[in-house]
Structure formats: structure tokens, C-alpha cells
């Protein structure tokens, strides 16, 4: 996984503070935390000499930009819709015990985090995820049950 140092290497390293951070390293950390986006660095975005690095950074950081608020990413090309994560997710079980909790189609969709659409897992209601919020815990229910590592959490 990408770390802050790798991102820093691709930045202008001028500590110009235009992004509002005190240094380029601080900006790299903010990028990683998805507090800021690559576009928040004006020199990187506008100066042609940084074009290559700008694109590289966009590529590196983009999966995280596509992630949900809990950092959950679904690698759709790997997922084949077995539904293991849907049925194993403790929040799904608690919110829909006789539907997905029992291995069936959802009966009560309102608070489901994971469900299968067109053969691929979709994440929604992520604020319900146990990895989110004040009392968050590092639940791995959907990760360890996946046969193809299609679910990943980025930090």
C-alpha cells in the first residue's frame, strides 16, 4: 500500500504552503488521509514540469478517492458475487437476521452495508460499519470471508 513518503517523492518539495499545509510532507500525509485531493496543490496541477508526477499521484491516490468513508474499497473486477461478505458482516446480520443473515436475499434493506447487485458486492450505509465512527473497531468480517481479496480497507 502507498505510504506518505512515496507520495512526498512525487510532490514539488518546495514547501510553498499554497495548499494550506505547512510543508509538502504534511500535504502528503493529508493526501493519504484523504483530507485533501491532489488538485489542492496548485503548482502540481498547473505547472507543466510536474505533469508526469501529477498523473502518477492521481493514479496512486484515486482508489482511495473512490473509497467509502470507512475506507472500504471493492475491487469489482475480482468480485464474483458469492455473498460471503454480505452474510458474514455482523452489522448486516444484526439489521436483517432473516434476510441476508440467514443467507437469503435482503428482507430489510434499509441499513444493509453490503449487498449483491449484478453479481458484484455494493457498499452503502457505510456509517453503519463497525470500522466507522467514535466507537470503531477493526472488524474484518468481510475481508477474511472473501475468496478473492476483493474487499480492502485503505487508511
Amino acid at each position: 500500500m502507498t505510504n506518505a513518503m512515496e507520495l512526498y517523492q512525487l510532490l514539488p518539495k518546495t514547501n510553498c504552503k499554497e495548499c494550506g499545509k505547512t510543508s509538502c510532507m504534511a500535504f502528503a500525509v493529508a493526501l493519504l488521509a484523504r483530507e485533501l485531493t491532489v488538485d489542492a496543490c496548485p503548482p502540481l496541477k498547473n505547472e507543466p514540469k510536474f505533469k508526469e508526477n501529477y498523473e502518477k499521484l492521481k493514479e496512486r491516490v484515486s482508489p482511495a478517492e473512490g473509497a467509502t468513508e470507512t475506507g472500504l474499497i471493492v475491487h469489482e473486477e475480482l468480485c464474483f458475487g458469492c455473498g460471503n461478505c454480505v452474510v458474514a458482516c455482523p452489522v448486516n446480520v444484526a439489521n436483517d437476521p432473516y434476510g441476508v443473515g440467514s443467507g437469503n436475499a435482503p428482507k430489510d434493506e434499509k441499513k444493509l452495508i453490503l449487498s449483491i447487485e449484478d453479481g458484484i458486492v455494493r457498499a452503502k450505509n457505510v456509517d453503519e460499519c463497525r470500522r466507522f465512527g467514535k466507537n470503531k473497531i477493526l472488524c474484518t468480517g468481510c475481508i477474511v470471508t472473501c475468496p478473492v481479496e476483493a474487499i480492502e480497507f485503505v487508511v
Partner: protein, 416 residues
Amino acid sequence: MEKEYYVCTGCGLLCEDIETELEKRAISKVYTACRVGVAHMKENPGTAKFWVEGKNTDEATAIGKAAALLKAAKNPLIFGLDNSTNEAQKKAIELAKKLNATLDDSSSFSFGPLMAALLQKKFKTCSLDEVRDKADVSVFWGADPSDSHPRQLSKFAYFPRGKEKQRGWEEERTAIAIDIRKTHTAKICGNEFYQVPLGGDAEFMEALIAGLSGKLPKTSYKYPPKKLLELANLLKAAKFGVIFIGQDLLYSLETLAPLFRLMDTLNEKAKGDFFLIPLLEAYNMRGFNENLFEETGFVNRVKFEAGSVKHGPEYSVVESLKAKAVDAALIIGSDPLANLPYSIIKELLEIPLITIDPCETLTSKKAQVSIRSGVSGVEAGGSALRIDGVRVAFKPVFESKCPSDEEILFKIMEAF
């Protein structure tokens, strides 16, 4: 609003909880089904199509030509039907009787002997619903349901809450994979993956039997006895154990005897009962085996002859073609040109072929008569038997002009 559920006939699990959205008489969205199910349900639906000698024609011409070819044959073969409804299968049995035909399906080179033993009650079997409600130990042997029956673990065998399994898979269930390679299913089983060398399954069974009986489990390939004993103890502690058998195990065993001995030993030594469920792949192979068994006492490889029925390897699709014993073939919902060895295919290309299938296949392209039938559960209704023998009835998702296999067979018989 009450939800409307449909049945997916993509594999032998016959998931009956599928929701769909329609757009312009085609399925545009599928909920809860796996990727294979989605591909299956979205399979280009459309109108009926009829070909004779590769040219588009009308229904009457195609049906008439099919009937004529079958009538002209002395020893016709009817093959396939694992992807047809119970109703179509029964119709095909009737047709085979009328034609004195040889009748066989793909179980001929896969699950046939195991299904025969199952229907003769040589071991205990149970339903998938019982597995969900009660099973604490599930063994996948030479079976990779993650790839062949994707929802098998989430719907039944490992992850769901069941009546007597309310505390979740981590606490109350153990999944074990025994295989020659680390399959997707083996990956989920984590530490309970036992890798057996190629062709080493029978010996592994004997060693397990020894371990269960308090003897030292030995194998010629020196499988660590400690690990084998751990597995034996795990199985012994099971209150409700199930062994799911895949095609790969069947190809590795010369005879099923060690498997039956293992089942007997497990039922003798384990805390609870042990059941066996074959992971049949085609959506209604179980139906073919049971429907034919009910009629003849055999699950496949039969030849009807003036009111009597003969059975044996010589009536298998492979041997009857090899021996040039059949002189025309009606292939229903199967693609032998893709699935059989090349050398057998050559024999098939020597005789007139008639195909009934929802899609164009290698076989249909070579057929004298080819008829496109409706996709079961999408364009045509009927019923089928799930891998555990539970009957599942289904209605089509939308009205289609595409005839079902059953209707086509009916019309062919009428045209005689």
C-alpha cells in the same frame, strides 16, 4: 409491496431468492445472484429460432425434419437434459421409449455411480436447509463450490445463521477443504485445508478411517500423521457433519468403496451423524438421475428396447459413440463437441445431429437441425431438483415466444 422472487437455473443450487428489473423485455438488473447467475439470466433472450442444415427456417420445417431424422434412425441416441426441466426430462424418457433409443446424460462421466448409490440409499444424505440449520462441520472434498456453486457457502454451508446455528460461523461452524490444490474454497477454510497429492485421495480416506479407529494413519506419500489425527478428531467431534463431493474427487477415485467405508466409519465414531451431498453442477442433473431411476431403476446409460430396458457402460454416450452403435443423436441442453474428448467428437460428426439449446454451441453449429429453446426460469417455467433433491418450481421472468424444451419434444413426438 411484496417482493417477487425468481429462480436462477445457473447451477444446481437453484437459488430461489433472485430479484430482477426489466427493461424492454430483457433483464437489465439482477439482485443477489452471483456472476454466473447474472450472466445466465441476462443470456440474450429473444425469439425462437430454427435452423435446418445451417439455414434459418420455420418451426414446422425444423420439427418435421427432426422427427424424420429420428424416425429414420435405427439406434438413435438422446443425450443431455441435465439443463432441462423435470417435465422435459420425462418427455424425453417417453420419446426414448418410443424410439427404442439409447438415453444418457453427463452424469455418465461424472456423478453417475455416486448418484446411483445415493438413490439406493448406500449412505446418509440430507437437505441443504438442514445443513444451514444444523451443520457444525462441512467438508469440501475435491470440490470448489466458490467457483462451481458460488453461493453455496454463504447460503448454506458456512456463513448463514440457521435454526440451531445462531451464533455465527466463527463460533459454531468449521469448514474443511481437502484438495490437490489451494482452491478459492480452500482459501476460505484457512488452516483447515488439507492438501493431498495428485491421485492420493483414496489413500487419504483409508488413513482417515485408521485415524478415526484409533490407529496410526499412514500414507505412502508420508502425510503428517499428526495432522491427519487432528482432522480425524475434528470430524469425530462433529454433531452434524456433511461431506460435499465434487467432480474432482470422483475422477481421482478408482472405486467409491473407500468413500462409503469412510462414511460408515464416521457415522460409527463421530458424536453425531455424517451426511454426503454431491455437488452436481448442471442445474437439473439430479432431476435426470431421479426421473430416470424412478422409471427404470437406473440413473443413466440406458437403452430401451421393445418395452424392456438395458443398462451398462456400452450404453454410455462415450462407448456407444466409440462402438458406432448409434446412428443419430438428439442433443438437449448440452454441448458434447465442447465437452467430450476430440476423438469421440469425430464419431459424433459422422451421424445426423439435432440440437435443442437456448444458445448457439459448437454442437448446434454442426447440427442438421438446431432449435433455440427458452432459458429455464427466464423464458420458460417448470421444475427441477436441487443438488439435494429438493424440488424447486419456477415461473418465467417474462413471457417469451421461445418454446421450452418440453414443448419442442412434445411437438417432435406429435410429428411422428
